[in-house]
Symmetry: C3
Subunit: 459 residues, 3 copies
């Protein structure tokens, strides 16, 4: 279903197919040295599952990052949005999204199939149901080189990441339910359709667009959707003063934001490492090791650059900017974490960290209110990372730009339409009073920190 | 030791044995395609260890969930209880519990052996101590198909989960030391004895009772023990007003409760995935992938249903209820996460989410004070999940009900006895004044948040 | 590069080499039963990566532990230090440290090579770049038995742990930038040089010094560096009263400290389990399972002993001490987590827990101000753990003491020099006023909890 003869993510899948071929070759004259077909199947499946679980963990990272960076009166609402978006996104992707992304995408095509649900292959179910696991049954189940649902799981957690990016930008003023409807549309349609172009083997794959784990396909997509939402929704009350002043509205709980960043960093080993899509050969294991090293080096460089730059520019280090520096480093390396020189990873991630430091005030000047800095981190660094595959990885710059622009235009455009439609149909923003008292009381009728918080003048 | 010829959890173990047989068969005519015995041994062992580590992580999840849902004056005490119960439970299970659960349980029997400690097999130690790892030594060590202590580790983390469930219900008024004594009795005796009936190959296994990862054997057991404790201990001061009013006593830190839920969701991949008890064949890998998908789908459905229901019933979404919806979804799928149609997982988890929404106020009406909602989540949804194996998985409804009732009666009865004995012997509840000033100051002489906190009577 | 013919960490590496040999032997007469060379390569590599990711996660654990144990006015600064030290340490180790630790250490030598950067082997890159993965290419890449960069990743996360230990002791008064310079020197020079003596195959390995995962080489090293820093830096204002009174200065957020401890406990399975350095044989799998069990048993015993001792000594349980008891248990078992009798693990960890209870007040008497108790936990319990390898594991007591003293003298001495040099060159301590208002406002210009906490009059 996902096998096609194209260079880029195709490359990864071809490795799998190619390996199977060469494995057979090797086995005939040196059976002892090689990985058996069934062993490779287990490794590939287990890689999807464990790395996928790490990506699922990123949902907790976004929840903590955003909980830490909003004001206390909006904290419970952002917690609710984060666990809910993960749930709605997963179900929407199960119902519709996955098939649009992967099932029967024409070579060079623009979309997969409209079909409901997704399930284990017939051959897998035959093996599970058999009295005895015969050689023929095992070989049959081994069609793809991995368990079909392990791949589904790994793909599903990626769509949830995309949705998580949006919630951070739009925090503190968006209503819960219209946001959830947007998440459903994003997960069921917008994300899968554009992802089918490359990872599904569609026209961008045919053109040679290269995005290993999704600097563009996941992170910029989340960023574009967030940008469209921020424009339609408008800034928070008090963020941009009438006199042109920009008010910081600091987050209520920075250790939670720090925890969120560490969670995301850990989860990113799954995000990038698992995107090798296989573990069943020495080649895959070597490649994943390189990916892990580049992932951590890029994040580290993002931290160092953001920290030094804020020290120079503002005479103070800025914790939030440094955390976003780590994330920008991670986003930047995501399109090409398989680069074989780790110094490149340091450069890629370091520039990512710098991009955040400069993009955050730029957005402020444009009066676009992005509560957690998700647009600088995921959109700006995502674009940079995708270009890096041309600079450091030998991809065509033109094709990389084509992919960035095409995906950006599609996602920004469709998101804008959906946001406007939601605004017209049901309103997307809480009232001024509700915003003033906070979304927690307004929409949830509770408080995140009922004993602390703004009221605690008693201290 | 744990191999027996019965259908249900036995099924899982038989797969292991069966696979070994069929592997040998395959090897004789197609050595290259299959998993070698030693490779399967490594996979099986590694699955126990990594999945077990994820289950251990659930202890942190319970600690955070409960820390977030108690008032700030009882937060340090609940933190202490959570790390202590994990420690006491683990040691008690090592000293006595494991052998009662697994060692020489008679076919159809009611209990294992009274024997102290547990250790690697002789054959394993022989391999570790050998100058050279010979074929014979490796085969010898491979008796069970996995490292003996990796299985022990995986089983141990489950008993800690059971104990964690109890601490949440009884928070904010139980004394630390009697609670620890209960944990020891639960982990050394009550849990292992009832678990021996099914997972140890005892009479419930013989009857065909099916509980893949423990909706009943782990979660309901924790719930029954908690219910018995809640009855003997009584409600918190101020929870139930003289006029019949139910006061909410909201938790102090909802982002921590959210984090705890995400941790539990992540850990549940280990809980359910590892309960396949093997990874050493394509069949196992396929089965675990299905388990991961069902686990996440059930949790997502629990979230969605709890969120929609609270919106409809109360005109507000409720974060705590939504978090408990996720957990109820997870508990519900735990008895049968290997169901092959993922739509069933959505239904199972969604109904679990609904159960919580209705069970929480019902418990309140019964004046049973469950601080975190552990009884609705673990007991009620646990029963539902166990019945689902009959509805969706082909098990006998009568046998499922037999298991639910037998285990419930045993655990609730013995727990009641232990709680009453502890109450008579040393008292289990702090004094009224101690409860008023909080357990942190009363029992620990410190505060969890010394700089924030309690002053805010404004709420 | 790291293969040498010596008993201790060498033992671990020899197992790898030895296994390869015996595997070949087995294959000739029983190919079907054994692990193929390439399969072992994947297992070994994957163990480094997954266990390394768990060790990386410990950085989050230290961040949360320290965030919880400092006062709110210094919380953002400690968050920044923790994510920054992880980044600086990783880059420094990549630029210089790894080669000093592992590249061409002479047998019985004192240091590796001064060389910049580190990279995949030529043979690995040849395999990655090949059109087809031939048998010869795979065998070539398999030189070390694992992917070169997976080992680098696993080693890198250890140096970050060492640096994390220092930040806790010196919190609440050290300036960010001199601390970062110290971290760079520690990670690029001090840590790698002493580690080369044992793990690089230098003179301590030749002498038979045994430290499985680093009770001395990682934890005591961090502790010595912290002790030197604490002496040069001096105590926090108000910690030691003029009248000899010791003021507690309690931490602002104990649930975060609890979370940090659970994170560290989880990460420690990677720390100790991964230090088997291989997973590609039944022997390795059995050994890692034993390591996991001992790791968790030692931590549990540390908790239980610290809890009971504080109850007896102070009539109150102490949460912070109990958390440190868990960590002391973990540090204690780290030198010998492969001990085959798990009762020994309980004793080793339990004594570790007791050490903390007695060492914390002793440090106070010496007027050494260790904010989080890192010196008792990592230095004192680290020494104890290293001695345990002689008591319970058959190592030479004299050699163990030699290693403890030699490494201690080197690290304490060089750290003292660096701290004094930094003090002379740029000052290492914030001003009295800055300490009074807190490092968050002074160095970062923000607050960690702007809406809660003591400082919130400013709102």
């Amino acid at each position: 279903m996902k096998l096609f003869s194209l260079p880029t993510p195709g490359r990864k899948l071809l490795v799998l197919a190619g390996l199977a071929a060469s494995t057979t070759l090797i086995l005939s004259n040196a059976a002892q040295a090689a990985v058996s077909e069934e062993t490779a199947f287990i490794f590939n499946t287990f890689s999807f599952l464990i790395h996928g679980a790490l990506v699922m963990w990123m949902a907790a990272g976004f929840a903590m990052l955003e909980s830490g960076l909003v004001r206390s009166k909006n904290t419970a609402a952002i917690c609710l949005k984060n666990i809910a978006l993960y749930s709605f996104a997963g179900i929407a992707f199960y119902l519709i999204g996955y098939n649009l992304m992967y099932t029967d995408v024409a070579e060079g095509g623009y979309i997969g199939s409209f079909a409901l649900f997704y399930n284990s292959s017939e051959a897998e179910l035959a093996l599970l149901g058999a009295e005895e696991a015969t050689d023929a049954l095992i070989s049959g189940a081994n069609g793809a080189g991995y368990s079909v649902m392990s791949d589904w799981f790994f793909q599903m957690v990626f769509v949830a990441t995309t949705a998580s990016i949006v919630s951070g930008t739009l925090a503190e003023r968006i209503k819960v339910w219209p946001f959830m409807i947007f998440v459903i549309v994003l997960s069921a349609f917008i994300y899968p359709i554009q992802a089918s172009w490359t990872w599904g083997g569609g026209w961008l794959a045919a053109a040679g667009f290269s995005d290993f784990a999704g600097s563009t396909i996941v992170h910029s997509v989340g960023g574009w959707a967030a940008l469209a939402g921020a424009i339609v929704l408008g800034a928070r009350r008090g963020k941009f003063g009438a006199d042109g002043r920009i008010n910081p509205l600091p987050g209520a709980n920075l250790p939670l934001a720090t925890l969120g960043t560490f969670i995301l960093w850990l989860g990113w080993f799954g995000f990038n490492g698992g995107s090798q899509l296989a573990l069943g050969s020495a080649l895959d294991a070597i490649a994943i090791a390189i990916v892990y090293v580049n992932t951590t080096m890029a994040a580290a460089a993002g931290v160092v650059v953001a920290m030094i730059l804020t020290q120079i520019l503002y005479k103070k280090m800025d914790l939030t900017m440094t955390l976003n520096g780590a994330l920008a480093g991670l986003v930047s390396i995501t399109a090409g974490p398989d680069v074989q020189n780790h110094v490149y990873a340091l450069i890629i991630g370091g520039v990512g960290g710098a991009i955040v430091v400069f993009a955050v005030p730029m957005l402020d000047k444009l009066k676009i209110d992005d509560v957690v800095g998700a647009i600088p981190v995921h959109l700006c660094a995502g674009i940079w990372g995708t270009i890096c595959v041309a600079i450091f990885g030998g991809a065509s710059l033109g094709t990389q730009l084509l992919g960035i622009v095409a995906i950006g235009a599609f996602v920004f455009g469709t998101s804008l339409i959906v946001w406007f439609a939601l605004k017209a149909a049901m309103g997307i923003r809480v009232s001024e009073e509700e915003e003033e008292i906070g979304l927690d009381k307004a929409e949830l009728g509770l408080e995140a920190y009922p004993e602390f918080g703004q009221g605690s003048q008693s201290f």
